[in-house]
Subunit: 122 residues, 2 copies
Amino acid sequence: MTADVDLAFDDNDYLPAVAQDAEDGDVLMLAYVTRKALERTRETGLAHYYSRSREELWQKGETSGNVQHVEEIRVDCDGDALLYLIGQEGGACHTGYRSCFHRTIDGEFVGTQVFDPDDVYE
Amino acid sequence: MTADVDLAFDDNDYLPAVAQDAEDGDVLMLAYVTRKALERTRETGLAHYYSRSREELWQKGETSGNVQHVEEIRVDCDGDALLYLIGQEGGACHTGYRSCFHRTIDGEFVGTQVFDPDDVYE
């Protein structure tokens, strides 16, 4: 028997969630979830997040088709961060790169561009 | 020629940083950095973070010896999250697990315990 782990949402009711490719282990993005976004993710098996700037729940890939199939959700020791182990359709980044982490801090591009954003977003 | 990427620290001057094992790709922890913590990380090659609860800069492994050798720092597309690619001494988690993400959201333990915290922390 297991029980849901207690989660420590922050003062704004957000938790950071890291999306990692379940196959090759690439870290693809970091975004935030609310309880509702997490609930929707678990119900549908598709990654949902909460946009702090737009102040709305969103499903990853709703516009682009680049959805994330969530295979497992992990919680860290303090319950204040999540790890989504996912299967990524297309690329995770709105710039067309597979991962949002496609630059080093020195500005070198190290990732792979997998689609042309002009073809995907209006 | 490359130039440092612009970083979008939040209102509290924090950025989340994900530590990923550079060898096997395991996501080991998520913590926060300030500019100072990031600067110290780049100067020393050892991961430094900022504890929001203790309100202080800390070097990972300062007490336990489980330091993180930072091989590369990546920045996400929006400049509001970091990825530390690291070599981890011992385990990353204060509970003795290799990764802080050693539980599923259902409460199942899926990680590996690599040390006994009683031997390491007073």
